[in-house]
Amino acid sequence: MAHQLGQTLITISCHEETSSTDLIGRFIIKGAETVWLDGPLTRAVKEGSIIYLDEIAEARPDIIVAIHSLTDHRRELFIDKLGETIKAHPDFMLVASFNPGYQRGFKELKPSTRQRFIAMSFNYPDENIETTILVSESGIEISDARRLVQIGNKIRNLTELGLSETVSTRLLVDAAKLIQSGLPKRLSVKVAVIEPLTDDPDVLQALGDLSDLMI
């Protein structure tokens, strides 16, 4: 979308140590002096970029506080270390993502933060679209792409295995690329799809048997 809109996109992959300092900026020592270095959020606010905070629920709470004033009518960022408030460039836009989970252990966004965004759910693409994606991304034969998608969907439905992450389209694309470059199909699925999902020997065996039956 950034490309289509002719906008710069800045992506930040948030994790549990990502703090507002990482996004807003910090003082650094340069030679004999201390200089201020804008973080990616400050830069995006000033220059009018699209900033994408991937996995925002993983970030530290101070980030959520920092973006609140950017997500309502004020559209401004308070830089506490400088004691300054800057108004967002008219082209600035904030995009964030997270994976909702309804089991313990998955971080959620607070309702007071969520209601500052419009939101869309993204589920896995349907079989035909995901097959098209695999073919487009890897050049693999359509019949092999469809088999990979079927394996992916089968594993996604095996919730009783207790996998904390399941098969992403990205993993299927990786498997398709390996097959396209000549790695045997079963080995491609094993290393690109199954091994990244679990370390449990029984689950590895079960998923391996399943994929060997299907491809």
């Binding site: 710069t8 990502t18 300092t21 679209i129 919730t159």
Partner: protein
């Protein structure tokens, strides 16, 4: 120490990345951008049934 960001034209992608829409997301995003409304993408639900 968090990540430092190097902004350089050398790192900017100039070709359109491949993307296959799965719904109305392109249209919705276009309108969100036009109105500069923050946009939240909710990924697939992580369904975990603990092994008993």
């Amino acid at each position: 120490m968090g990540p430092m960001f190097l902004f350089s034209a050398n790192y900017m992608r100039t070709t359109a990345p491949y993307y296959h829409a799965v719904g109305k997301e392109v249209e919705v995003f276009g309108h969100a951008y036009q109105n500069k409304i923050p946009f939240l993408l909710k990924g697939p639900q992580v369904q975990v049934n603990p092994v008993s």
